[in-house]
Subunit: 218 residues, 2 copies
Amino acid sequence: MPLSEPAPMKTRDRILQTSLQLFNEHGEPRITTNHIADELDISPGNLYYHFRNKDDIIWLLFEQFERRMDAALQVPERRAPDMEDMWLYLHLVFETIWEYRFFYRDLDNLLSRNKKLRTHFRRIIERKVTTAAAICQGLVDAGVMNATAEDIAALARNIAVVATYWLNFQRIRTSAATVNQDSDHLALGVYQVLSQVAPFLRSDARQLLHHISREYLT
Amino acid sequence: MPLSEPAPMKTRDRILQTSLQLFNEHGEPRITTNHIADELDISPGNLYYHFRNKDDIIWLLFEQFERRMDAALQVPERRAPDMEDMWLYLHLVFETIWEYRFFYRDLDNLLSRNKKLRTHFRRIIERKVTTAAAICQGLVDAGVMNATAEDIAALARNIAVVATYWLNFQRIRTSAATVNQDSDHLALGVYQVLSQVAPFLRSDARQLLHHISREYLT
DNA sequence: GTCTATATAGGGATAGAC
DNA sequence: GTCTATCCCTATATAGAC
């Protein structure tokens, strides 16, 4: 294989890539297998040579997403994270959601017609909640945060809700055109999540967070 | 018309009622006009005598929902609400969402195929945000709450996100069977929203909120 | 107002040639 | 691996009789 040209992408991978792009842009329910084939200038028959059915494509995209999200939710273990760690960490989570945002747009539909998807997605949600709780507990142990166990439990659930649905929320509020300026929306989501944590922080940590927000927002 | 028997419901109203019930239970995309007609033991043709199309049914249900939600979002003007007011107020919002929950399950789908729906729903969301901000500002003015304008802005957005998506979130987490114990889920949603406000409250108001939560949860 | 019958359209998926 | 042709099914919606 000549090194001068990059190897052309295999059809199977092109189908996955294009499906993801179309799903994200228009929503999965409105993209048919024919649309995908059209966009790629291949025949529907060819598409079905590579994939059993539409759900098969969706499942493979989900596996990509799951690997990415599992990696993103990896907690840095060595030490209690500082505010900047938290910001970057959350931003990674939001980026992952953004890249596979079509799952979030039609969650109910997708999960109710595919049991395996449902089980796996639920695991991701639970992991969001427990990871958020673990980080908060770490901050408490490090003396940076002041919260009871009950506070942390409720806070972790709310963090997960906002992290999960922020992009949907913004999508409703802003016109479709505006939504496509990615980075702003992600940063604002990170800000929203961290502003839930802020009131529990010790004064100096809260100041630092305030400072970081100003830096990263616009 | 004899008073001894209640007037039988008009077919048109029965269609609306049954549609709402089926949409809520199974999700709007999976309920066809034929399903609705079947459930009512009428013919599809009859259904189309009463409604131009499926979107027409959905729009009329939305109008009901909008009236209910507009009423629920009415702020009690006379005085700064106490914690129990807040609890009951929020519970009313959650009850309204619960009764028309199918809209929330497939929001993206519904809003992107119907512009009028999109405009009106967006108005409701904006109203949620501004109402939440107004109430918080009222609490600050009354000396019950301690928060900057920036705090309130972020808090109001987060309140709206949790109020909007809490039921969806719980639906993913718990098995379908569990979800149908209405009241628990609503109360927990109210709790989640108010726990966002709690850390900004003066100590005595926070205690009161804590107390009320214990009373209403389970 | 209600029914039966049917038109229309589109999406998912397969068969078989190349 | 890829294409063409086609089948099947389901959903929306209408026509016309009663």
